[in-house]
């Protein structure tokens, strides 16, 4: 069985992942327009503006910058997941400060120009970071090996698989396993399902999960939820004649879709 593999993503031709090449439905990206819309609200945050807009702007800006950082890391890499997160946050904070000072206006110019600017900010950030790290390292600078081009991300899959895996289950039919896993996950409460998802797929610590608006408990409470969920899942899989195994392709998307729908229902109801 082929497990979900970030390595596969590295074999995608660069052109295939550039904006505008996606043949699915409407290829025009929506986030740039939303970011520009939110920027106007954020600029007023200091004068009692919209806090919710600030949070959404921050999330979207970080996602966009992180995307560009990942692209540039392919060229200049390598960077750990934590370094990429910190670098993105650092650049994001700088941009928010510039937005408030009036030295950056996402609304000026076209969306393409704003995207090019963000890409440039991310590229400079990656280059500066790598230069600084080389200066600080004791040994001589070395060229990144091919296998290290996108080292962050691999760990996600490893952790995701490890959370459920006792030994590799290569002969198992992936679709059957995915279906069974999804059915078992469905037996968890929505809150437990979200906590398990955040742990297994998003690699969140108990403290982070505890802070999630859909969870809101103590880290010890999260540990309890996770232990109970794992036991329940193992038991459920065993009742179907299956044992914990690497998570097959398609499982993550199906699970994300379900959890996202639950979160949206909750948000919509509120």
């Amino acid at each position: 069985m082929r497990s979900l593999d970030i390595q596969t993503a590295r074999r995608i031709p660069a052109a295939a992942i550039e904006p505008g090449t996606l043949p699915l439905a409407d290829a025009r990206a929506r986030w740039p327009a939303r970011l520009r819309e939110l920027a106007g609200l954020v600029r007023r945050t200091g004068e009692g503006g919209d806090e919710a807009a600030l949070e959404e702007f921050w999330r979207l800006l970080n996602l966009a910058l992180h995307g560009y950082v990942r692209r540039h890391v392919r060229r200049f890499g390598p960077l750990s997941a934590d370094d990429a997160f910190d670098l993105t946050a650092d650049k994001g904070l700088d941009l928010v400060a510039r937005l408030r000072r009036g030295s950056w206006d996402p609304g000026a110019g076209t969306e393409e120009q704003m995207c090019a600017f963000l890409s440039s900010v991310a590229r400079h950030g990656v280059i500066d970071f790598i230069r600084r790290r080389r200066r600080e390292s004791a040994g001589p600078a070395r060229e990144p090996m091919t296998d290290e081009l996108i080292p962050f991300g691999r760990a996600i899959v490893a952790d995701a698989a490890q959370a459920l895996t006792t030994e590799a289950e290569t002969a198992l039919d992936g679709r059957r396993y995915a279906r069974a896993l999804l059915e078992c996950v469905q037996t968890l409460t929505p809150r437990a399902r979200l906590a398990w998802y955040l742990r297994v797929f998003s690699d969140c610590t108990a403290a982070r999960i505890a802070r999630h608006p859909g969870i809101l408990t103590s880290p010890a409470g999260v540990d309890l939820i996770l232990n109970r969920s794992r036991r329940q899942l193992r038991k459920c899989l065993a009742s179907r004649g299956l044992q914990a195994s690497p998570i097959p392709p398609g499982t993550f998307v199906a699970l994300w879709e379900r959890i996202d729908a639950e979160q949206r229902r909750k948000g919509g109801a509120a």
Partner: protein, 245 residues
């Protein structure tokens, strides 16, 4: 529509951020189900998104209270000048014009809320109402918080939720209602950290309701306290005294 190529990072961000319409979302998910490489990259995007949603906003993101106050003071001074020049009568006392922060931290408080709403301590309806209210407060949807927690009134034992209700009422510009909620709660009897938080909200509510003498005595008491609420109180005490009602 074709699904022969890979999904772009842009599409994955749009999907993760909930910016696609139903048709676009369904198409993107259909593609991801059949494209393990795209699914792998989507995993990276959602991981970043979840990491952001479970991290507090960086300290530098919100303007510092002092800087906010300075800017507000400048704006108020400018507004006052306009009043003098035009001779017009303009009311400057809005719900946020005083720069006082009425937002409550949710982390520890909500874990206690959960325990207060544990099975046996509350009905399913109350628990669902609490869940929704906390989520709405987290989003800054104060109107929803008030509608969820204000009617029917909550049992007295759900103290943290009363504080959220008072905070939301203040954010909605209803200080008299906030005073009423907090007085019923008897803030002095609350355990910490809720006591200080409740007293702070009561101070803001009284001050915004024009009851400055009662407000000032609470402020003096809070300014002697350690911690974040003490900091808020000391900053407020350092500001010019508010005008009478």
């Amino acid at each position: 529509m074709t699904t022969t190529a890979h999904a772009s990072d842009d599409l994955l961000i749009d999907l993760s951020a909930g910016l696609l319409d139903e048709e676009g979302r369904a198409g993107a998910l259909r593609h991801l189900r059949g494209c393990p490489a795209c699914e792998g990259r989507f995993l990276e995007v959602t991981r970043q998104a979840e990491r952001l949603s479970t991290s507090p906003l960086p300290a530098g993101l919100r303007p510092a209270a002092a800087a906010r106050w300075t800017r507000r003071a400048s704006l108020l001074a400018a507004a006052a000048a306009i009043v003098i020049v035009t001779g017009a009568s303009i009311a400057l006392r809005g719900p946020r014009a005083d720069g006082l922060d009425v937002r409550l931290p949710l982390d520890a408080e909500m874990s206690l809320t959960r325990s207060a709403l544990a099975p046996g301590a509350a009905t399913e309806t109350d628990a669902a109402r609490a869940d929704e209210a906390v989520a709405a407060y987290h989003r800054g949807d104060h109107t929803r918080v008030v509608s969820l927690l204000g009617d029917p009134p909550l049992p007295k034992r759900y103290e943290p939720l009363h504080l959220l209700l008072a905070s939301a009422l203040l954010a909605e510009g209803r200080p008299a209602d906030a005073v009423s909620v907090l007085e019923q709660l008897d803030t002095l009897t609350l355990p910490q950290p809720w006591r200080d938080r409740g007293r702070w909200l009561l101070y803001v509510a009284l001050r915004r309701d024009g009851r400055n003498d009662a407000a000032e005595s609470i402020l003096k008491e809070l300014a002697a306290s350690p911690g974040e609420i003490g900091d808020r109180a000391r900053a407020a005490a350092a500001r010019p005294a508010p005008a009478g009602p």
